[in-house]
Amino acid sequence: MKLHSVLMCAALAVTSLSAGVAPVVAQDKKPYVIYLSNNFVGNDWRQQMQRVAQVSVDKGPLAGRVELHIEVVENTVQAQINSLNNIIREKPDAILVDAASDSALNPTIKRACDAGIVVISFDQVVTEPCALTLASNWERIPAVMAEWMAVQLGGKGNVLIDRGLAGAPISAQLQEGYEKVLKDYPDIKVVGYYNGDYALGPEQSGVASLLAANPQVDGILTQGYGSGAIQALKDAGRPMVPVVGFSYNVAALTCAESGAKCILGSNPAYLSSEAIKLAVEILDTGKRPESRSVEIEGDFVTTTPFESKLFPGTKMQTIEVGVNAFPDQPPGLTLPITPDWVEITAAEAAGVAQ
């Protein structure tokens, strides 16, 4: 390449500089400008999370109070850093982050805090101390469900445990959570483990092969849908046993239809709505919560409610088809749909409103 072409490029660049026009951005004073930075939309949960965020600022107590912008990036750290830098330049009131990495966004998030922006990381949280974290209480979920299982079995029986996805930190945490509680019931024996991979197929085949090997199985603690385990019980011609799983629409419907006793733990998709509400509270009052981490306790969805002794006051919703389980909605919808301070419908959460 000769100098000519370099000069030509430079000349073209200068021409474009003079063509640039600074825009005038009119801004209303009242609503808080809040950005939601989401690094991934490849599953039902994240999409529901984004939809309920929008719904919860369109109606209810936050209607008209928040100008919400959702920025999705392509699941890379670099893209989220660049996107956050763009957001920081807009000087919004708050940024909510579902993060691509718990640590690699830290310097960028620090810059946002230094610019006076309220930063709340939710769901996949970050370790940067200036950002608040808002997530489900992952200690409570497996503990209450294992306790429920022990109550159903009268403290005695053989159970299967799902190890989740090999290598995933959350899988180990859930498995340990189940085992820690079951240890207090010496007559409950774990007779088999399988990897459910948070998908129906592996759950069904994992349970099926363990059923073949164990003539007596009295309960199944999955980390996934639970409906795969119920299908495996049906296929093997075995009686229904209590099943633990997570609160997808398909799981609740399967429990209701099969007559199996179920408890479904919830990592509610409305974490985003809660993060928005928290941001507005901080902006209104100028006060941050005392603890850096805020835990959200989504209601359990169950056929058979009980009073937890480990976590007294834990709320349970009894599965009622049409009320909190929806045959006409997608199977991957996460329940419960709505927090109690705003009314989000299943259709709105599923994105099929009207």
Binding site: M1, K2, M8, C9, D102, A104
Partner: protein, 335 residues
Amino acid sequence: MSVSVAERPAETEPARHLAWRGWLLDRAPFLVACLMLLVVVAIYGALQKGVFTLDEINLDTAAAMTLILAATGQTIVLIRGGIDLSIGGVISLGTVIAATQFSDDPLTVVMWSALILAIGFAVGALNGLLISALKLQPFLVTLASWSILNGIAMLILPTDGGGVPGWWIGFSYNQILGLASPVWMLIGLIIFWYWFRATRLGITIQATGSNEKSAFLSGVSIARINVVTYGLSGLFAAAAALYLTTQTGAGSPTIGKDYILPSVAAAVIGGVSLFGGRGHLLGTVIGALILTLIGNLVFVLRVSSYWQPVMSGVILLVAVLASSLAEKTARGQEQ
């Protein structure tokens, strides 16, 4: 006599015309890249305040620098007529070594940085050696080493984490004469390039990429060229890793894969030929800036961020078309 006088201007006129056209065709892909950058900058500037300021140049260069460094190595390999996928592994490995070994002591940081760069060069050199010695496809050899390095990075640090000193993170915000350090790095890179491409080594790499057989016949050691070419690519990937840790402040065993294909795309958008022999770092830098600025553009346009990959793809396509048209026209003229 009168005939020759009458003929001379008739001969030189088309010749000059041809030379001018040849010059233009040769640079068409690069000029198209410049034009695309202009369009992106013009739209961005019309929609966003303060685009034509030093701050904006500092920010955008900082955002694009990891990709620019990774793509610099890739450019050298592409000009040689190869491809290097292993940069993904080198970048991941580099960040996890930095995040687990760096301490507050500057001497430790310098030592480990040197070691990371050395590892990058060694890995690349090994790629080059395998490609030459076993006559293997660069694609396959570097795919394998990417996988191996990724695994090693996972063994060192299974999930994102670790840390680097605060002063290291501050690096990209340090300014001299109003320009942040990434801008100075970019200036340094371009100076390096003008020097490098005129060296014997630079010329030989380009010649080998143009026509390996004739390079070999004129006495070039293909093995030596491969070792150096891929070694340099590994070195620049390691530099990208070090720079990346100033942005993330942490190590990530999976982050490198995000730069492999964009590094090729940046080079191709900038007019580097996938068939070797043609290309310039300036083009690659422009390609990397375009890819980075598209993200900003999508942001200020307030459209769905899914438009970013769509726009990147369209720009890549335009670049490839321009390059192929130019080549065809040039070939048509030769005949």
